[in-house]
């Protein structure tokens, strides 16, 4: 099972490390403390997992950014990491958007203090920028091969970490008949009830919502205008509430139907604990749109070993399952399923797997095209004419 494979890996690494060290004439197996981990492109570069762990412990801290505790169960992941390796974690700015994270890395280039992030977690569309502007350093985790090829950069500048699928988060206390399709949303019974969870000109979640609506109405990523038209109809029918939905607006009934990522909706369901009751529905018309996020190690990380250890942790089975516990589908999901590693009770809490099988992952080009069209046309097509 999983333990066997891990032990196998460990033995392999020990063997490699031991061989290297004896070849160099060093002493008994242990960390090569003179190695500069900021140049490591994989754990083996620096002498294997044990060396990495020792070097990280010597550094003592990891600085993260943009990791809210309730997002993909990062809270538990961070705590587990802390106890497992005895490191401190310095959490910056949980509110940061992807743009913020990149700015933070750039602004802190010369800074080796507690304010510079070691690792980042950004939207898929930012991948190319990470390479172009030299934001991240290429690194391949030990489980690199089980990450699907279309969501990782071949050299490891960025790699997908988890994905989710868009659907409707419905507060059933305020809505009698739960809508099952995009077409349902236009019905008069949902007047003043439908909202987005972000501003379509800035939020990836909202933009993908428009894409999803487009796919359900004959459009595509290359031409999302049917999606814009859909929201225009929604607005004209009075069903669309222009406020950005948050926990409070859902709970108070102001925005009882929100188009949301599955992991956010399901986490809400748990947090609200029935007050109000939440149901999550993946609409049956159209194709579910999946959104991927990327991990990267900052090229200027003050704690390079800790940063790499964090990645190894996240991409180990343990880390991946922690994400799954937060309802985010980890990028190695198919691999975990194939090896039968997912606990049954966890699997039961997730939405049915068929929806995910159908889900479509937009490519970088598609993301870019649709984003431009939607952000430029949202105001003219849907927006209120405020003069």
């Amino acid at each position: 099972m999983r333990t066997k494979k891990f032990v196998y890996h460990l033995i392999a690494l020990f063997t490699v490390a031991a061989t290297l060290l004896t070849a160099c004439g060093g002493g008994g197996g242990g960390a090569n403390t003179n190695f500069d981990w900021s140049t490591a492109k994989s754990a083996t570069d620096g002498g294997g997992m044990d060396a990495l762990i020792a070097a990280a412990k010597a550094e003592g801290t990891l600085t993260t950014i943009a990791l809210p505790h309730d997002w993909c169960n990062y809270g538990e992941a961070i705590e587990t990491f802390k106890t497992k390796y005895g490191l401190q974690v310095n959490e910056l700015n949980p509110d940061a958007g992807s743009g913020d994270e990149i700015e933070a890395v750039k602004a802190n280039k010369e800074n080796k203090g507690p304010n510079a992030p070691d690792v980042i977690d950004v939207g898929f569309g930012f991948g190319p920028q990470l390479v172009e502007e030299g934001i991240t350093f290429p690194y391949k985790v030990s489980t690199w091969d089980t990450i699907p090829a279309d969501v990782k950069h071949p050299e490891g500048y960025w790699f997908g970490d988890y994905y989710g699928v868009l659907g409707f988060e419905v507060a059933t206390d305020f809505v009698e008949n739960v809508p099952q399709t995009w077409a349902d949303l236009l019905k008069p019974e949902y007047k003043g009830k439908v909202a987005l969870a972000g501003d379509p000109r800035t939020s990836n979640q909202a933009i993908q919502a428009v894409n999803a609506a487009a796919l359900a109405n004959g459009g595509s990523f290359e031409d999302p205008t049917p999606g814009l038209e859909f929201f225009k109809k929604l607005n004209e029918a009075g069903n669309f509430v222009p406020v950005i939905a948050k926990a409070a607006t859902i709970a108070s009934g102001e925005t009882p139907i929100v188009i949301r990522w599955d992991y956010l909706a399901l986490t809400d369901r748990d947090t609200f604990a029935g007050n109000p009751n939440i149901e999550f529905v993946i609409p049956s018309d159209g194709t579910p749109v999946a959104g991927v996020y990327l991990q990267g190690i900052s090229a200027y990380a003050p704690q390079p070993a800790a940063a790499r250890l964090w990645q190894e942790f996240l991409y180990s089975d343990e880390g991946q399952l922690l994400w799954l516990k937060g309802y985010c589908h980890p990028i190695r999901y198919n691999d975990l399923v194939a090896r039968n590693v997912i606990p049954a009770d966890m699997a039961a809490k997730l939405p049915p797997a068929e929806a995910y099988a159908k889900a479509v992952f937009p490519t970088l080009d598609q993301l870019s095209t649709s984003k431009t069209i939607i952000t430029e046309n949202w105001d003219s097509v849907v927006g209120a004419d405020v003069k």
């Binding site: 602004a107 080796k112 926990a247 007050n275």
Partner: protein, 266 residues
Amino acid sequence: MKKNVFWNWFWIFISLVYFFIPLYATFNFSLKARKGELSLLAYQQMMEDPRILRSLIFSTEIGLLTILLGLLLMVPTVYLVRLKAPRLRPVIEFISLLPFVIPAIVLVFGLIRTYSGGLLPLTNNYTGLNFLLIAGYVVIGLPYLYRSVDAGMSAIDVVTLTEAAQSLGASWPTIMLRVIIPNLRSAMLGAAFLTLAIVLGEFTLATFLVGLKAFGPVIWQVGQNRAYEASALVIVSFIITWVLMGLINFVGRRGAADGSVAAGPR
């Protein structure tokens, strides 16, 4: 006279209604944490979070230091400009309004970039970061600090007072401490209130410089998923800020009893 008092109470009443209702609505929502009944569950849950008290204390300390630095910079400057260099006044005033048009996000990244290395590295340690935060807050509070102090000074005849004090043989420090400042009490208190309120609620600078150590980011974090707790937190922080201001007010006004030169009609 009677008619005057009626109108005064009218305006007070209308304003109270306008201010009170949204607060009540937030309070009402915070009581709904337990389904179907009104309870203080949200408040209990909120109190159990250690970050809240810690960050509140931290932000209050930062706030007090900001007020100190801000007034220290502002009062002598406004005084001197009024007295000796009235032509500088438009310049200072324009500068004081600039923070409005510089978005906090630009300011904070600018501060981080400028002080990340080179001559004056401040971002390498917590003390430096705290200092950057205070400096940033003074900048953000500049419009309010300037306007309060300037409005206060316009209400007293700075020139005559200074002359009178000088003709009695007072030195500059004496003039400042015993003539000008006592007459600015009300304006300085106003400036203190505004600054403290800004610091306690501010988010952008705090989150990039000190993260969850400050109150603003903690409020935001709580508000992301926990709807009822967030509203409870809003109400509680409102009350706490109000009490803090009451304290400043009390301490400030107590000193006013010791015969400051009468500038106002009271």
